[in-house]
């Protein structure tokens, strides 16, 4: 092989390793047993206030209208099913969306935090993604941080009168990216590198997961936009009933 052929070969191998190996990339669930005990507890504790707020908001909603319990449960099941589906991908790898961005836009971030932790428990128990000990950390990144950012961006775009579809896309994509950054940071905090500490370690985790997570975030944005578009054209009354789309004519 000539030098050029060799370097092409190397590139091809690197490509195959990054994309071929990732046969099933769930949005970054930290696996069972990957975090030291102290971090498991700490992230769980940080999640508690958000979950409590979410719980109270759900409770209030149910006190006003008892019927919404099945709607809430269906929404949870919907987020779970959406996140368990293989999404279209260009590289042929099999990846999944989080669905929490969509949830945050439709139901608000506090309700999603509760639905999110239930979905995460089921993902651990039924799909073996994530884990029971890392539930706290995963809840914080996926059911709290991501949805809150999505919702914030969605609201911000609305205030700035950005095109609605663009704002949905931005909200879902950036929410997903934020989840990925938070997870990398969580991993980096638990495993700082010898040189450079947490910062260098965060860069490493971000870099390692970037090839799967960056395209995933964009695809999640596209899919969420398509879903919201379809919903708005076919399901306005239903959307209004769950308190979404007051601004859509």
């Amino acid at each position: 092989m000539s030098k050029k052929e060799k370097s092409i070969m190397k590139l091809a191998v690197a490509f195959a390793l990054t994309f071929g190996m990732v046969s099933s990339a769930y949005a970054m669930h930290i696996m069972e047993g990957y975090l030291p005990a102290g971090y498991c507890i700490a992230w769980g504790a940080i999640s508690v206030p958000f979950l409590t707020a979410g719980f109270f908001s759900i409770q209030k909603k149910l006190r006003d209208n008892r019927r919404s319990i099945t709607v809430l449960a269906m929404s949870g099941a919907f987020v779970f099913v959406l996140s368990s589906l293989k999404i279209p991908s260009v590289t042929g790898s099999c990846s999944h969306m989080t669905g929490t961005g969509l949830g945050a836009i439709l139901f608000g971030p506090s309700a999603v935090s509760i639905l999110g932790i239930i979905v995460l428990i089921f993902q651990a128990v039924l799909l073996a993604h994530g884990g029971l000990t890392t539930l706290g950390a995963n809840t914080f990144s996926m059911a709290i941080a991501g949805p809150f950012v999505s919702f914030g961006i969605y609201r911000l775009c609305k205030a700035l009168k950005v095109n609605r579809m663009a704002s949905v896309f931005l909200a879902a994509t950036l929410g997903d990216l934020f989840t990925y950054c938070v997870t990398s940071f969580q991993l980096a905090l638990a495993y700082p590198s010898e040189i450079g500490g947490v910062g260098a370690s965060a860069v490493k985790f971000l870099g390692v997961f970037a090839p799967t997570q960056l395209p995933l975030a964009v695809i999640e944005g596209i899919l969420t936009t398509v879903i919201v578009m379809t919903l708005e054209s076919y399901a306005l009354p239903e959307l209004k009933a769950i308190g979404f789309a007051k601004e859509v004519k």
């Binding site: 047993g33 128990v125 379809t230």
Partner: protein
């Protein structure tokens, strides 16, 4: 999506299903806590082998199917561990060092030892959790959570969501089949459109069904509390002794 049917299905098939779910949970959680709390690799290896052994030999799950399930978290393990083993620095250091424009990639002994321990520990934890979920159907896991001081509303939501997941899966698979047979997944962009369409439709169907289910529940005297029949599976003295012995052995291994 195949997995959801498999893990719950294996749990119903398992020969360990007759055991008291609380006992299985105590063993699994004790193993998890000892592994995570101490990080002792001898304990981790023991847990990995014994929990796998219990699931495969006692539970009667085929070895190859178990291996297939163990592969699920491997992607994360490889990527996550790669990030720990390889370091970046501005000056050349470590055992192996690769120079890249602007910085150096290096491998260090400490990083390698840390990640080897981490892999063993994480896989041990996974096998402990598998012992529980591959022998205990999800409904029993929810019942177990019900014994914790959690708000009832949360458990009610969990029970409902668990049931609705299967309803939604069924609806989704039929929608997907319909889209597929009409070439809805022929290219990347059509797949995105079909996926989005199915997602939106799924949401609509779920909202419609939600109303119907509430009516069905109310007509059966639902007043804010779901009651399910729970099979009573008493703990036999021998089983409790085996479980206690196992945890004791794990703790003893810590002393070595």
């Amino acid at each position: 999506m195949k997995n959801i049917h498999t893990i719950d299905f294996y749990a119903y098939e398992s020969r360990l299903k007759g055991l008291n779910p609380g006992l299985k949970a105590v063993v699994a959680i004790a193993a998890l806590l000892i592994c995570i709390g101490t990080g002792n690799y001898l304990v981790s290896v023991t847990v990995f082998l014994t929990m796998g052994g219990v699931t495969v030999i006692w539970g009667g799950l085929s070895f190859w199917k178990y291996l297939g399930l163990l592969k699920i978290p491997v992607t994360f393990l490889i990527l996550g561990t790669a990030a720990i083993v390889v370091g970046i620095s501005s000056a050349p250091t470590g055992r192996f060092c690769v120079s890249l424009p602007g910085f150096y990639l290096y491998l260090s002994d400490d990083g390698a030892i840390l990640s080897a321990r981490l892999i063993i520990k994480a896989m041990a934890c996974v096998s402990a959790m598998y012992m529980l979920v591959l022998s205990t159907p999800a409904s029993e896991v929810i019942n177990l959570l019900g014994k914790l001081p959690l708000p009832r509303l949360l458990l009610e939501l969990m029970n409902l969501i668990y049931r609705f997941i299967f309803v939604m899966m069924d609806v989704q698979s039929r929608m997907k089949q319909a889209a597929q047979s009409r070439l809805g997944y022929s290219s990347f962009f059509t797949s995105c459109r079909s996926f989005g369409g199915i997602g939106a439709n799924l949401f609509l169907v779920s909202l419609k069904k939600a109303g119907t289910y509430y009516d069905a529940m109310t007509s059966r005297c639902y007043e804010g509390e779901l009651l399910f029949m729970e099979e009573v599976k008493p703990v036999k003295r021998k089983e409790a002794a085996v479980a206690a012995g196992y945890i004791a052995v794990l703790l003893l291994l810590l002393l070595i």
